[in-house]
Amino acid sequence: MDATSEHSNIKIQQIIDQLSDKPGALLPILHEVQHAFGYIPANAIEPIAKSLKQTAAEVHGVISFYRHFHTTKAGAHRVEVCRAEACQARGSRALEAHIKESLDIDYHQTTADRNITLDPVYCLGNCSCGPNIRVGDDIIGRVSNDKFDKVVNALSTSALEIK
């Protein structure tokens, strides 16, 4: 959904109205907004702050504290690579290098075709079967360089199909 449209403001308000009565509502609201738009658009901050009787700075402070929340639009797919020890013990450092080289980006960057955004993650809880990556909500285990290339190819194909 385009986050700057009139429609998006309605959607943001709907999410706020649905959740603001919960105790400690801020994280649930931020999760829902990110779920709807893929990130937390700047125009969401004021209405969230207002409904929770907080300042925009406080809301922004919470967003920036958590790695999971993003304030810029990502590529079509978010790929997270586990950097933690159990994956390191199974060769994730070499995989990381391959991923960055083959996509030609570093962490927190998006490929030129806007297809893939690359992020680090610290443990996906699949520590017997590393190295692990997460693509959207799918966790993929025992990722070799070849397997990663195949995953990326499939992502590129599906992105074209959507168009």
């Binding site: 400690g24 509502a25 994280l27 919470v62 020890e85 159990a86 993650v121 966790i139």
Partner: protein, 531 residues
């Protein structure tokens, strides 16, 4: 005749094409007019065999694994739904493993908390009840609150999140607070690398967690529970929500639980990728909708916890042990284990191992025994060199330490921690100075920033180890690093800064030993360059 076929739906299975296997089996059964009932169970925790496909027979369930989508056709060709038990039969499919419960990896375990994992359909209440589910709750509903707490105290259960604080004392503290709004909070922010026991329980037997939290609510007079789940566990999120909804439908949650006068509500709240939120006070801040900054203690969360109210904060596995404790009695649970470490711990064998997975055993076994009986070598065939136990804040242990009994006090005595039971194996190519530096980097990344030793100390620590690694004033920088570690241990507000030195110092010590042996080697053999 309809045959029941099981394909797990846990994260590990799905990460290895489990959904494809399940849908291929359905499709082929349809095509061949075979009547099967496909159950998506949880994993049994033998991750090296996932996707593990099981088939119900009159002698029990038989297993095939690891099954990949390309194996499905051959399974049907071998008529896998009519398994023969003759292990020597030449007709048998190559992936046939015999009766699941007879697989040594599973048979050698002492499963209490994970008894139902992989056995039942995780969100099917009837299946749960048929396997002794809700017996603990039924017992709790007959007891006074003090009676429930006494049972938990008698079990000797200690917090399974890592801190190992006696659960009974925590519950007693909350019970002793005058009646008011109290909360039950489950710490499901399992951020330690090398751990997945919480995830496995939530994905394979979520109703056990729900039952344990409900019992806690009855014990202290709390009517609201929250499961604080890390956002890195999307599959656990789906399964937990499904299980909670079904428990509400059948009145195991909500008002008038099971026809009693008791009320307990529960919901899942998602974290957002902050390791520090596994620290209980930071978790509470996060639940309240704030930055996850650590609080100074006292006040204890048991007295002033969530929204300033008395709160039990326990790990998934602590709550998960409670139904068994209530159903069979605290004394039975306490009969397992050694010393002050009572009961069982699910050890999580991870990293570079051949057979990784979850192994629930009584406290007191050793790393050597676990590795020999279960892990069976490294995945790449190299020698095991060092093992990080207890997550990213746990020490790296070298071979001379692998016979230490796996229980809290013995580990503390060697400057190590058992933590949440994660065991990460590294082979002999590990660069321990690099690992030490990573531990500091991780602290930089994850520090909440509230106290200086953690926030600044970790940055300086990363730099100093960098200098040591590049050979710059090595002795002086090693002394500086020691000094820095001492400051972090003594002055940090919580375990993040206070325990980061554990992996750092143990890894640096092992690194120097490695260097020493390499130097000796180069003295003996001039053709090998000293580093």
């Amino acid at each position: 005749m309809t045959t029941t076929v099981y394909v797990p739906r846990d994260t590990t299975t799905l990460s290895l094409d489990g959904n494809q296997v399940a849908s291929d089996i359905s499709a082929l059964a349809n095509q061949q007019d075979k009547s099967i009932k496909l159950v998506r169970n949880g994993s049994r925790g033998m991750f090296w065999l996932e996707p593990l496909v099981e088939v119900e027979t009159d002698k029990g369930r038989v297993a095939y694994g690891p099954v990949q989508p390309e194996d499905v056709e051959s399974l049907f060709a071998a008529d896998f739904t009519n398994a023969s038990f003759d292990a020597h039969s030449t007709q048998q499919h190559a992936l046939f493993l015999g009766l699941t419960e007879e697989i040594p990896y599973l048979k050698k375990q002492q499963r209490l908390s994970f008894a139902k994992a992989g056995v039942i359909d995780p969100t099917d209440l009837d299946d749960y009840i048929a396997h002794d589910g809700f017996k603990g709750l039924a017992k709790a509903l007959q007891l006074e609150p003090q009676g429930i707490v006494d049972e938990v105290s008698a079990s000797g259960l200690r917090g399974r999140g890592g801190a190992a604080f006696p659960t009974g004392i925590k519950w007693q503290t909350v019970l002793n607070c005058p009646p008011q709004q109290k909360y039950i909070v489950c710490n499901a922010d399992e951020g330690d690398s090398g751990t997945f026991a919480d995830r496995l329980l939530m994905e394979a037997d979520p109703l056990a967690l729900i039952e344990g939290m409900t019992i806690a609510g009855l014990a202290v007079g709390a009517t609201q529970g929250y499961i604080y789940l890390r956002s890195e566990y999307p599959q656990a999120h789906i399964i937990l929500n499904e299980a909670i909804a079904r428990a509400y439908d059948r009145n195991f949650l909500g008002d008038a639980i099971c026809g009693s006068s008791k009320t307990f509500h529960m919901e899942v709240r998602l974290g957002a990728g902050a390791y520090i939120c596994g620290e209980e006070t930071s978790l509470l801040e996060s639940l309240e909708g704030k930055r996850g900054l650590v609080r100074a203690k006292p006040p204890l969360p048991a007295i002033e916890g969530l929204f300033g109210q008395p709160t039990i904060v326990n790990n998934v596995l602590s709550f998960g042990a409670v139904p068994h404790i209530l159903a069979d009695g605290g004394e039975v649970y306490a009969s397992y284990g050694m010393g002050r470490s009572k009961g069982t711990l699910p050890f999580q064998i991870a990293g570079n191992v051949n057979r990784g997975g979850l192994v629930e055993l009584a406290f007191g076994t050793t790393l050597s025994a676990l590795l020999e009986e279960f892990a069976q070598g490294t995945a790449n065939g190299r020698d095991m060199h060092s093992i990080q136990v207890g997550g990213p804040l746990g020490a790296y242990l070298t071979k001379d330490q692998w016979d230490t009994p796996l229980e809290y006090e013995s580990f503390a005595a060697i400057g190590a921690v058992l933590g949440h039971g994660g065991i990460v194996v590294f082979d002999d190519t590990v660069d321990l100075a690099e690992q030490a530096q990573f531990s500091m980097e991780f602290c930089v990344e994850e520090s909440c920033g509230k106290c200086t030793p953690c926030r600044i100390g970790s940055v300086r620590g990363t730099e100093v180890i960098g200098k040591i690694r590049s050979g710059e004033n090595v002795d002086a920088n090693l002394a500086l690093l020691d000094d820095l570690c001492e400051t972090m241990i003594d002055m940090s507000l919580c375990a993040m800064g206070g325990m980061t030195p554990f992996p750092v110092q143990s890894a640096m010590k092992a690194y120097q030993a490695q260097l020493g042996s390499q130097t000796q080697l180069s003295d003996q053999n001039p053709s090998v360059e000293g580093r």
